[in-house]
Symmetry: C2
């Protein structure tokens, strides 16, 4: 899908992916892939960003000899999703503006 359209969705998608239960990078990409594709470099950049912003916390673990970092959403992260939800009214009004049919033409 259009890269510009993605920009407003990716952050909040990642948050949504760890909302239900803590998850890790590799799994987040797999879970999101039916809805939205993203490269690994993008995801790890975003995870770092969201951590710095305090929207999630990290906990490193060892799993079958491999490092695995679990991400946990914070209250602020949940707030971010809520904000997104509220902003969606605006988005839909824009969508309607774009797709309206100029009946007279």
């Amino acid at each position: 899908m259009d890269i510009q359209l993605k920009r407003g969705l990716l952050d909040v998608c990642v948050l949504a992916a760890i909302k239900k239960e803590d998850s890790y990078g590799y799994k987040i990409i797999k879970d999101m892939s039916p809805y939205i594709k993203m490269s690994e470099s993008t995801l790890y950049t975003i995870l770092k960003r969201l951590e710095i912003a305090g929207l999630l916390t990290v906990r490193a673990t060892l799993h079958e000899g491999r490092v695995r970092k679990y991400y946990h959403i914070t209250r602020a992260g949940l707030g971010r999703i809520q904000d997104f939800k509220e902003e969606w009214r605006e988005v839909m009004s824009i969508y309607k503006f774009v797709t309206r049919e100029d009946s007279g033409k």
Copy 2:
């Protein structure tokens, strides 16, 4: 509204603003302002970009001593709006993913 969310909408909004009838920069901003705010520098950048991409054409006129440039949407521009419309299914599925309630939690 969130600047990242805007990125996917602005181009197509501008096209929608000139779809009904040819319009010019200053008026486009006014027309769109109830739906989405954008600075002049943004708009003129976008108009230039869309012109280069062949999604609209320009016609300079004189109006009460001031230069006024009218923009006209091309077939490709209409196609861009159509593409956006079709991509919206994907966007809505992402929206649902983000806002779903984890019933069991």
